[in-house]
């Protein structure tokens, strides 16, 4: 249909062209249809475009009047077209990409899960919480001199702890070497090597001649603490143990001290903590025996200090409800993998 010149600039004609164009856009079923619609109804050869081209032949008054009408119609058509175009494009995408759908639940190529031993994780955790209150972490040799492991700690040669029932001795006996029975020789080394104030923890592997069973192992881990400073009292010991216990077992954990005996502390105590409805023995502690300070050249008139020591296997067993020591010492990686790299 070619509109006649007479009808060229009637409102009705423009409106009718616009209507036809809108109907055609809406009728387009796909992007190809729409492309043709654009050529026929919006493109340069469309009636509306042509009408627009002929505006120039009108008098100014009419040009203004029809220019406005045609402009509005074209703008409206463009808008409807682009909306339709976008909608058809979206439809097409959706259809095409759907054919590329995968089962997203399929497993990826599996590499091995790794993990740290929970004793390492616990050692790190304890180290961090003591670093946080100004303690250094000290380590020392596991194969140790008898003097550092016993004598300097006020455990004289005849003491029952120095028998073969408790301690692993190295051949020949004259070499005076033992597998350390606690990390206390690290305390002695620290006191010999540096001047007070001393704030240290000593984590590490220790050895006692116990058979492996559900609660014992001949090779286990300890963390000991040592503080030597001016004005240190047993209250500082109690406060430090409270901090330690609450950090490891939770803020509502209570501790209690019970009188006990160790050659290297005086007064001595056992520390228990109340956890899951019962008192649990945790470790030994006390004020550093003056004899130990003297053996290390620290003036007991000026300085005092405290020390404590706990088994890490036991701590781990209580913290995680582990019932059998075998799980901790055996090396079955399923156990360690449970812990990953910590704080799951």
């Amino acid at each position: 249909m070619t509109p006649s010149d007479d009808a060229l600039f009637t409102d009705e004609q423009i409106k009718s062209d616009e209507k036809l164009a809108i109907a055609a856009i809406n009728a387009a079923k796909n992007l190809e249809d729409l492309k043709q619609v654009k050529i026929d109804f919006i493109g340069d050869k469309s009636p509306i475009a042509k009408a627009n081209q002929r505006l120039g032949s009108l008098n100014p008054e009419q040009r203004a009047q029809f220019g406005k009408i045609i402009g509005a119609a074209r703008s409206n058509l463009n808008q409807i077209f682009s909306e339709k175009n976008e909608s058809l494009e979206r439809e097409k995408d959706a259809h095409a990409l759907l054919t590329e759908r995968v089962d997203i639940t399929l497993p990826n190529r599996q590499s091995l899960p790794g993990g740290l031993h929970p004793l390492t994780l616990l050692t790190n955790e304890i180290s961090d919480l003591f670093l946080g209150i100004g303690y250094e972490v000290k380590e020392g040799p596991e194969l140790e001199s008898e003097w550092l492991n016993f004598d300097a700690l006020n455990i004289p040669a005849d003491h029952p702890a120095r028998t073969m029932q408790d301690t692993f001795f190295i051949e020949p006996l004259e070499a005076k070497l033992v597998l350390r029975t606690h990390t206390s020789p690290v305390q002695i080394r620290t006191m010999l090597d540096q001047k007070p104030p001393i704030y240290v923890i000593c984590p590490g592997k220790v050895y006692r001649a116990d058979e492996l069973d559900a609660t014992h192992t001949p090779v286990f881990h300890q963390v000991e603490g040592l503080v030597i400073d001016e004005n240190i009292t047993m209250a500082d010991l109690k406060g430090t143990l409270d901090y330690f216990a609450k950090s490891i077992f939770g803020g509502d954990v209570k501790t209690r001290l019970r009188p006990s005996y160790f050659p290297f502390t005086e007064p001595s105590a056992e520390v228990d903590f109340y956890f899951n409805g019962r008192w649990i023995e945790w470790g030994g502690c006390g004020m550093v025996n003056e004899k130990v300070l003297i053996a290390c050249g620290i003036d007991p008139k000026r300085y005092s200090g405290f020390a404590f020591g706990m088994g890490l296997e036991r701590t781990l067993m209580v913290k995680y409800g582990i019932e059998d020591m075998h799980d901790i010492v055996e090396g079955d990686i399923r156990f360690s993998q449970h812990f990953g790299t910590g704080k799951r």
């Binding site: 990826n108 599996q110 972490v137 029952p160 051949e171 010999l192 240190i232 009188p259 990686i333």
Partner: protein
């Protein structure tokens, strides 16, 4: 030690309504762990009565001999019961559970037909009543009224506290000691069983008919009492009350004279020994073992005497291992007419040694090892004498005494000292009451106390010792909680941080940490082919197992065992690592054992440190199977030698050290697939494939790979500032070089790097071609250059590339591949 409440309550004014828990808690408060609280008789209901045996009919038609016993229970007629035991006769008094009674273990007694007779009750053993472990026969009572309640007579209903006593508290292994502690803990009145009036009177009885006493080994004992006693009526039975107390304390009743010595030991804490005086030649002596060879002890063991033993001897023979066990030769029996009763204050260390040498821990040695009260030698021997007089119609002939106990020194202590140690401001009364409760004498002047410890507390020598007592008796619960803070800037050392980072890195790379026992054996050392330093192990004198008597010289043995364990449990694709020390016996200085009464000199301290072998810290890993598992996407990727090398390199790179990589041959690795990694020219790591023969022998998968890095030998570097990040474009050049196949990739890379100059940003090998023949291979590298101040021109970059190639040509006769 086990102690019954009925005995304790004789010496502590306990309130009537105190609970067992409160008593246990009171013990714990003052430092005595309560292992268990046994409520005896709680699971036993009567009627259980005293009966007299009136007739015994032997029934022999059964598998074992059985008795049909007639009993007089004061019921007006004889009651008959069946009994399997045979240790009784007519007229003996026995304990009879009547029908309706329930014995421990919910054992209900009823009248029943058995062995063809009607058994109308049961004659009980100590074990059946739950009052002793003795099940060898039924209880035969020394006395008792027919038809009365046997449970009352036997004092069955009691509470027994099993208390563990710390090694510094010998005095507390007695009713006297524990009653004092309980009274002190609860602030109750204590009456001392050692307060007896007749000691002086007994001590004054002297006679030439008595056995004399001497201390030959002055270091062995400082005091000994020997009372010679005529035993007029040695066959008398131990009274039931004494027998029961002994049993409740966990010992057995043996004979009257022995029971009395044990009873007094339990009551006061002083071990006593009774010798048959008629077999003693001359004097009783405290002697060292030097002149004596053998002794047969009461347990009938013939023992070799060591010169360091401490003995009780007479003029010619050893009669006892002092404070440990008596000799069989002078054992007291029913026919003994005269006894020599010994009570000594021995050197506790010597007795501990006796006990260790002979692997003989007795009730006596356990007490003396912990230290006894020197004042008790006189008192306990007098008390036992009095009991012998009372119960066996005995007569004291003579008291011989040798030596004297050391006087205890007083200690001065002030409230300031106490507060400085304990962090508690106690009142003067709290301090004084605590010290009085432990038996000390206290004189107060202003805020200072002059304290004379009691004779049984030779351990109280210093202010700290007294502080413990004050804190203990007032309760450790009074000690407040105060957190002291250490130094600012505390952090892990570089080595500690390295160890931690490295472990986390390995875990994130798929490795799981294991912590193995560091023990191994020679077979493993040989199997792995360790030689040189790696074969020099330390031997444990007393290993847990003869299978593992050596300390490890390397982590590999433990890692391979852990691998075996995991494979045995179904593991297939495994990567394990361990961080730990190794022990190599490659020379350490002789030991020094300085006195501990002052700080050793710097020289001596150095000597001590040098007497301890150097222990290197290793990280080792082992892997087998697939590192990427096969799956629906296709085949996975197995662990190969280069994975092991890559892990070792990653560890070294994480420390910031640069390294050099060379092929080497080192057991237990595959001789053609072992990398040695050097830092500053020193080998610090080995990695590659495990020797196929080792895999086969240990039943490990083929191509198992292993790495080991000595992390303690990797130099600690100071942190360097970060590089400037330049934004000018990089220029990339690829080169492919022909070389002899013997030239290693790393060596070629090092040469190219050196030749390329300082604008080389990175160099990567991207291709290797070995199908050239004539012993040649081709390696291709990408070289990336970048300048800080300009865009590099292609001419300039070509110049650097040529320089790199020239260096490779010079070092390795490399030529550009056409």
């Amino acid at each position: 030690m086990k102690i019954p409440l009925t005995w304790l309550s004789k010496h502590v004014a306990l309130p009537a309504k105190i609970s067992n828990e409160a008593i246990a808690e009171a013990f714990v408060k003052v430092g005595f762990e309560v292992e268990s609280v046994i409520v005896q008789g709680a699971d036993l209901t009567g009627p259980v009565k005293v009966g007299k045996v009136v007739s015994i009919e032997e029934l022999s038609d059964h598998k074992k001999p059985i008795r049909f016993v007639g009993l007089d229970l004061g019921e007006g007629k004889t009651r008959f019961v069946i009994c399997g035991a045979r240790n009784f006769k007519v007229n003996d008094l026995v304990v009879v559970a009547l029908p309706g009674s329930v014995l421990p273990g919910n054992f209900k007694i009823s009248a029943r037909e058995t062995y063809g007779k009607l058994s109308n009750g049961m004659i009980c053993s100590g074990k059946e009543l739950g009052i002793s472990d003795d099940s060898a026969g039924i209880l035969v009572l020394p006395s008792g009224k027919i038809g009365t309640n046997a449970l009352d007579l036997l004092e069955v209903n009691d509470v027994i506290f099993d208390i563990s006593v710390n090694p510094d508290r010998g005095y507390a292994m007695s009713v006297r000691g524990l009653a004092r502690e309980l009274a002190g803990s609860l602030n109750l009145k204590f009456s001392d069983p050692a307060h007896i009036s007749y000691v002086k009177k007994f001590d004054a009885i002297k006679s030439t008919k008595g056995v004399p006493v001497k201390i030959e080994d002055k270091d062995g004992a400082d005091l000994i009492y020997l009372r010679t006693i005529d035993l007029v009526n040695a066959r008398k039975k131990t009274p039931l009350w004494m027998q029961r107390r002994i049993e409740k304390c966990g010992m057995r009743s043996i004979s009257l004279a022995v029971d009395i010595t044990n009873y007094v030991m339990l009551e006061l804490g002083q071990p006593l020994h009774a010798f048959d005086a008629d077999v003693i030649h001359g004097s009783i002596r405290v002697s060292s073992g030097e002149k004596f060879k053998r002794i047969i002890t009461l347990d009938k063991v013939d023992r070799k005497i060591s010169p360091t033993d401490l003995l009780i001897t007479d003029d010619s023979n050893a009669q006892a291992i002092a404070g440990t066990m008596g000799g069989l030769n002078s054992e007291v029996s029913d026919s003994t007419k005269r006894i020599a009763l010994e009570a000594a204050h021995f050197n506790s260390m010597k007795i501990a040694k006796n006990s260790r040498n002979h692997q003989l821990s007795s009730e006596a040695s356990r007490r003396i090892e912990r230290g006894t009260d020197p004042a008790l030698a006189a008192i306990a021997s007098a008390r036992a004498t009095a009991l012998l007089i009372e119960l066996a119609d005995a007569k004291l002939i003579s008291t011989a005494i040798a030596g004297s106990a050391k006087k205890i020194e007083s200690v001065k202590i002030s409230t300031q000292q106490i507060e400085a140690k304990l962090g508690v401001k106690y009142s003067n009364k709290q301090i004084k009451d605590a010290l009085i409760a432990i038996g000390a004498k206290v004189i107060i002047a202003a805020n200072s106390f002059k304290v004379t410890p009691p004779s049984w507390r030779p351990d109280l020598l210093t202010v700290s010792d007294l502080c413990e007592e004050i804190a203990r008796l007032n309760g450790y619960a009074l000690i407040p909680s105060r957190l002291s803070i250490g130094k600012a800037g505390a952090k892990l050392t570089q080595m500690q941080q390295r160890k931690r980072n490295m472990a986390i890195m390995l875990a994130n790379r798929g490795f799981t940490e294991v912590i193995n026992y560091p023990f191994t054996n020679q077979e493993m050392v040989d199997l792995l082919g360790f030689s040189g330093d790696r074969a020099k192990s330390f031997k444990i004198l007393n290993p847990m197992s003869e299978q593992a008597p050596l300390l490890r010289t390397h982590l590999i043995p433990g890692l391979l065992s852990a691998l075996q364990l995991n494979i045995g449990r179904g593991g297939k694709n495994l990567a394990l690592f361990e961080v730990g020390s190794v022990f190599r016996n490659i020379g350490n200085a002789d030991p020094v054992m300085p006195e501990t009464n002052k700080r050793p000199s710097s020289k001596v301290i150095t000597q001590i440190y040098e007497s301890v072998p150097k222990q290197m810290l290793f990280v080792g890993g082992v892997m087998c199977g697939e590192k990427i598992k096969s799956g629906w996407q296709g085949a996975g990727e197995s662990f190969v030698w280069s994975d092991a090398v890559a892990e070792a390199i990653a560890i070294i790179e994480s420390t910031g050290n640069s390294y050099e990589l060379v092929n080497t041959e080192l057991a237990p690795w595959h001789p053609g697939r072992c990398a040695e990694i050097k830092v500053n020219g020193k080998a610090v790591a080995h990695a590659g494939e495990l020797h196929p023969r080792v895999c086969a022998k240990l039943n490990l998968p083929e191509r198992t790979c292993v790495f080991a890095v000595i992390i303690s030998e990797l130099p600690l570097l100071t942190e360097s500032p970060p590089p400037k990040i330049w934004s000018f474009p990089a220029a990339v050049q690829d080169v492919a070089l022909l070389i002899d196949s013997t030239v290693s990739a790393d060596a070629l890379k090092q040469s190219l790097t050196r030749g390329a100059g300082e604008l080389l940003e990175s160099i990567e090998l991207f291709d290797r071609y070995d199908q050239i023949g004539a012993g040649k291979i081709s390696l291709a590298f990408t070289l990336t250059f970048r300048a800080s101040d300009r865009t590099l021109t292609s001419e300039e970059v070509a110049k650097y590339r040529d320089a790199a190639v020239a260096m490779a040509a010079k070092d390795h006769s490399a030529t550009l591949r056409g």
